[in-house]
Every structure is written in C-alpha cells, then in structure tokens.
C-alpha cells in the first residue's frame, strides 16, 4: 500500500536493466519501501542492478521476464503478486531501440522491435492492470517518448511503437481510473543512457535522473502525462503542426 505521501511499499520494474526505469525506482525509494522486483530478460544484469539497490529492510528480487514472450506475461505478473503481494507501482520500461537505418529497411528487424515494444508492452501492461484492478489500487508508469506526439524519420519503427503504446496507455488509463488505478504516461525527449550511447543528442537532451524526478512528481500529483524536460510539451505542441518539408530538415538528432 502507498502511504499518504504517495510513497509505495512495493515497486515492479518491467525492463529491470532500463536506466530510466532504475532511476525511477531509486527516486521512489523511501523508508516505506519494502520490496523492489526487477523483471529482466538478462538475469545477470538484473542481479547487478539489484546489488546497487539492496539495503537493510529492502528486499530486491530479480525475476525472469522476456518482453517478446507475450504469452508468459500474465503468469509472470501473477507469480510476482503471489510472492510479494500487492504491486503499488509498476514501471513499464522495456523496449528495443534498434538502429533506425536498419529497422526502417529490414522487415525482420522491424517486426522484432514492433513485437517487443508494442505487442509485449500491451500484454505486460494488461497483466499488470488486471492485478491492480483486483487490488483496487496501484499506479502504472508507462515510458513513452516525445515520439508519442510526432515520429521522426531517424527511427520510424521505434517511434511508431512508442506512439502506439502512448495511445494505448491513454485509453487503458482512462478506463482504469474508476478502479483506483493511476496511469502515468512519461514522454521523455532524448535521454543520455546506455540505450543511446554513441548517438548524437537532440535538443533539450536530458538524463535518466531528471526523467525520474519528473515521473515521481507526476505520480504524486496524479498527473495523466508528463514530459521530460517539461519544456518539450510546448516544443512539441508547436512541432506537431510544423509542415512536413520543414519538419524533415529540423536537426532533431538520430
């Protein structure tokens, strides 16, 4: 159960190695936190991340989770709840970025990214939402992207999956509100992280820690959507209306 300050007792991170996801977990930690579950495809990496979080009075568990194995998602969530009880906050942070050059030309690569990022996110989120509906409380943090507003040519497959789950989360979240479940959509811009190492940054680039601060503030304030950094909301409310020929020439990173 959350306490009156919105401090959760149990946190689930789907995508247990995600830099942004882990930053949100760290930002959420308080004396009230009892359990963190890192659901990762790579257990060894998950264990390494768990080591960095563990301290007295906090249980950090790593469980096997494959975003692509959509038919296992319901079972994984059920087992986590059976072991640790209520899930107060779930962060949905797994995604494949891929090389936009490759994925926009290779249907096989594109299909894999679309499957994990779109189908996998949907099945895992539905599994979490079902559990939270039954609990009568809970919060889901959906890591979307500014691509949720407009997809760039540099990585159309990745961008489209983010746009897709952004819309999915809006619709699902509105339905969940009556069940006491809060959906927060986080739309970061370019984030310096292991996922983006070696790529040139877009304007208003940010860090996982800054995204985490914005996300946790949004959780406490029960916001429906937050942008990181906040200014991107206004930047993109303009950019979405920019005519195609101009949009194509904008230096938005790769």
């Amino acid at each position: 159960m959350n306490n009156a300050f919105g401090e959760p007792q149990s946190i689930l991170l789907l995508g247990g190695n995600s830099d942004i996801g882990l930053a949100i977990v760290r930002e959420l930690l308080s004396p009230a936190t009892r359990t963190v579950v890192l659901a990762s495809r790579d257990i060894a990496k998950g264990e390494a991340a768990a080591k960095g979080l563990r301290h007295d009075g906090l249980t950090v568990d790593v469980v096997a989770f494959d975003g692509a194995a959509t038919d296992t998602h319901e079972t994984v969530i059920r087992q986590i709840a059976a072991t640790h009880g209520d899930i107060d906050v779930a962060i949905v942070a797994f995604a494949l970025l891929g090389d936009g050059e490759v994925s926009s030309k290779d249907p096989g690569v594109a299909a894999t990214i679309a499957h994990v990022n779109f189908t996998g996110t949907i099945t895992a989120t539905i599994a979490v939402a079902n559990r939270m509906r039954a609990q009568g409380h809970g919060a889901i943090v959906m890591l979307s992207s500014v691509a949720g507003e407009r997809v760039r040519s540099a990585n159309p497959v990745y961008g489209a999956t983010k746009a897709g789950i952004d819309g999915f989360a809006q619709g699902l979240g509105d339905g969940l509100a009556a069940d006491g479940v809060h959906m927060l959509i986080v739309r970061p811009g370019f984030v310096h992280s292991s996922m983006t190492t070696g790529r040139s940054a877009a304007p208003f680039a940010t860090t996982p820690e800054q995204v985490a601060q914005v996300a946790v503030k949004g959780l406490r304030a029960k916001r429906r959507m937050v942008w990181a950094p906040g200014i991107l909301r206004y930047v993109f409310s303009t950019l979405r209306h920019v005519p195609g020929p101009v949009w194509r020439k904008l230096p938005l990173g790769d």
Binding site: M1, N3, A4, F5, A32, G136, H137, A178, D179
Partner: protein, 459 residues
C-alpha cells in the same frame, strides 16, 4: 454475490478523513441481520466494516475487497437508568446518540474531537478524549459487545466474558470481526452546558507543569498549542479545562431548559478544491496568531455548549476539504512521562520545518487499559494536521518517528497514514499477543484493511 433485498452495493473510491491515498472497494450498506450473509461472500481481499470514515488514514478502507456499512438508529438505544448504561447498535453515531442521551440527563463516557464517529468505530479505535487522564479511553467503559466472527457466528464478549477477544477487539481496528452492538456506561449530567476555565500558557515547560498536578482534579483538560511558535514562545498554548455544568452554574435563562441540546452546523466547506497554496505558512501563522491572542489570559467558569467545548470543528462540515487535492495527514503520537525532551524536540523540529500547521493538540494521558493495541499510555500525546502535499513532509515525519520510538512512544492507528511495520512493532510490543487472538477467530484472514496490509497487522 448473493442478492439481498436491502443491499445497495457499488464499487466506490474511499479515503479516510485526510483524503489521501484513495482506493476502490465494493461498498455495501446493510442492516445488522444481513451482515453475516454479505461478508460470507467476500473474496480473497476480505471484508471490513466502515463507520463514518473519520479515521484520517487508511484504517476504514479495504482496496479490492468488501467494505460494509451498518444501518442503525439512535432510537434503538436502550438506556438502563438504574445502572447508568446504554445499549446501542454499533452503526449509531455519537452525534445521533447525544441527541437522545443529553435531554435525558446522560452523556457518553468519552467523546473525541468530533461527534461524527460511530460507536463501533469508537471501540475499534479505542478512542480517547479530554478526560483520558482520569477516566481512560472508550473501551474501558464498555461492559459488553456483540461481535460477528469470520465464520458467521456471533459472540457476546466483555471484560469478564472472553476477555482476551474483548480486549483484542477494543483498539483492534475492526480486524477481529464486526461489532454489531455494544453496552457501555454513561456520565450523568444535570445540564447540557459545560463550565470551562481557559488559561493562556506562554511556553512548553509552563504547559507541562500546568497540566501535571492541577489537572488531576478536573474532568476534561486539553491544550491547543501553536506549532509555528518558536524560540521562547515554543509551546505557547491555550489550556482549556472544564466539566459538565451543574444546574446552579446556569443563569436563569439557560436554567429554563437545562438539558436542551441542539447542536448545529454553521456552514459546510464547498466541494470545490481550493487552489494549491491556499493553506500556506503565512495564512496559517496569521490564523494561529489571531487564535492565540483572542483567547483570554485567564477566564474561569465560563459556560459553553457541549459542541463548542468538545466539537468546535464540527461546526464547519467537511472542513477537511480546506487542505485541497493532496489532502492532509494528522500526526499523533504518545511519549511516556520522563520523555518530555523528546516531545520538545519533536515540536522544535516541526516549528523549524515551518510545515504549515493549524493548532496542535497536546494532552496528558492517564493509565492505559488491557487492550494490546490500545493507543493511549501514560504520558504526553500530541496531534497536529499538516497538508500532505508539503514538500519534504515524508522525510520530516520519518525522522520524527525515530525520536518518538526511541523515547518508547508510539503512533495512533486511527490517525496513521505513513508509518511502517517496524514502527508499529516497536511501538506495540504486544502485537504478537493480539495477532494470536485474532488468528484464533479469523484463521483464513477474512477481516482485512488497507491499514492491516500496509502495516502487516494480519500477515
């Protein structure tokens, strides 16, 4: 779910009086004779009874489960004039009950700062009032109660009849079963008025001294303390003492109808949420300053109504809305006598943090009772409201918790919305004893609440 003729159920979002941490449950309003059938249908998230929702935190919430509300009318109250007791359905509020009792010359043994609590809730929270130093908490005045158990059976328990289950139910936060009715002793009164002495006290040491020996002779005593005062004014407060006025203390006009009792609400706070920052350090400090200065330096024997002496905040309905969307927490703890330094440190920290807070209440507790989870214990208790959205409040209160626990103190379940299972283990060393009794009557965990889940009371 069984469809019963009189059952109204709906999936509803519930919070405590602090309006924090809403959760959704199936809420049913049922008459006493149908409760057993309804709770039998509870799923894995169990069932809980809810009174008027005046617990500040999550004590009367059961997310994803069943929440039952009881019907009950004060007209079903049976007063035994010879014994000075009353038997009432548990869903009756102190507000409704006083309207029946006071005109007949009786008063409830204990009333909290609001009369909008049910008798069942009063027992489950083992509530205390301004007379705790002399007369103890509500549970100490209960002679018997009927409890609906998890298996659907009913038992009558009291201090001499199955005392273990009785005392586990007193202060048991609804987790031993549903209290259906109760019988308790009353205070005989000659009038519906209070004779009140008011004293301005300049600082904390004077307050401790003033509340120690002279208070033993007064029935009701409580201090309102300004938590924003600092330095040599730290702990400045207004001490109110009183007792039920005797007939000879009333003037001729009041003496015509000495037991007339018609408490009224002057206003209701509108449901519109005030903008953030409506309650801030400056507005609160100004309010507290005015409040302190308007009190007489010393006024003896003033005649007041029951409502203005015991329930001043009830004059504004839904006053909790003043704290806006993020709600508020009420921080209440007790530290034993001899730990006055801890109390001072807590007040200093609160004052230094400038957490906008209206007047806090400081009270000297007398002896506790036999209930393992009853909050009151000999010592000093402080209660204050703070807007839950105040930045850094979580950290501040977690820090204060350590001071309280290190001093051998504890927190009040009915107010709590932030402590941890460890804090409860330390504060309530008889928790395991209570759990053993609880588990014996509810082996499958039918009775659950958000509070029990958060604090691990039923694990």
């Amino acid at each position: 779910m069984a469809i019963l003729s009189t059952v109204n159920f709906a999936r509803r979002s519930l919070t405590g009086w602090g309006r924090t941490n809403a959760t959704v449950a199936e809420v049913l309003e049922v008459p006493n004779h149908e409760v057993a059938d309804v709770v039998k249908e509870a799923g894995p998230r169990g069932a809980l009874v809810r009174g008027l929702g005046r617990s500040y935190g999550d004590a009367a919430q059961n997310s994803g489960g069943l929440v039952v509300r009881l019907f009950g009318s004060a007209h079903q109250a049976v007063i035994d004039q010879a014994k000075g007791t009353v038997a009432v359905p548990a869903g009756v509020s102190i507000d409704d009950l006083l309207r029946v009792l006071v005109p007949r010359g009786w008063f409830v043994p204990v009333t909290p700062g609001t009369r909008f609590v049910t008798i069942g809730g009063a027992i489950a929270s083992d509530i205390h009032g301004k007379n705790h130093h002399g007369e103890g908490s509500f549970g100490s005045h209960v002679t018997s109660l009927t409890l609906l158990l998890a298996d659907g059976s009913q038992v009558k328990v009291g201090p001499r009849r199955n005392p273990a289950l009785f005392w586990a139910t007193v202060g048991g936060m609804g987790l031993t079963g549903i209290i259906l009715d109760a019988t308790f002793t009353l205070i005989p009164i000659e009038t519906s008025r209070m004779a009140v002495d008011t004293i301005r006290v300049p600082d904390l040491d004077s307050l401790f001294a003033e509340m120690t020996s002279p208070d033993d002779d007064v029935r009701y005593s409580v201090a309102w303390i300004d938590p924003l005062a600092k330095g040599r004014h730290l702990g400045r407060s207004i001490l109110g003492r009183g007792d039920h006025a005797r007939l000879d203390q009333l003037d001729a006009k009041d003496a015509i109808a000495p037991l007339e009792y018609t408490p009224q609400q002057l206003a209701t706070f509108p449901p519109l949420v005030p903008p953030a920052g409506y309650i801030n350090r400056l507005t609160v400090a100004a309010f507290n300053e005015v409040w302190f200065r308007k009190a007489p330096v010393r006024a003896i024997g003033q005649v007041q109504s029951i409502a203005s002496f015991f329930h001043p905040l009830d004059m504004v309905g839904s006053w909790n809305r003043v704290y806006g969307a993020s709600g508020m927490v009420q921080y209440q703890f007790v530290v034993p006598f001899g730990e006055e330094v801890a109390m001072r440190t807590v007040i200093e920290r609160l004052s230094a943090a400038r957490a906008a807070s209206f007047l806090a209440v400081l009270k000297r507790f007398g002896a506790g009772n036999a209930a393992p989870l009853s909050f009151p214990a000999p010592g000093w208790t402080l209660a204050l409201d703070v807007p839950a959205g105040s930045p850094g409040l979580g950290e501040l209160l977690h820090g204060l918790d350590r001071i309280v626990l290190d001093a051998g103190g504890r927190h009040y379940f009915t107010k709590d919305a932030h402590t941890t299972p460890e804090a409860i283990r330390r504060g309530y060393p008889r928790l395991d004893e209570w759990k053993a009794v609880r588990d014996s009557v509810d082996p499958h965990g039918r009775w659950q609440s958000d509070l029990s889940r958060r604090l691990g009371l039923t694990d």
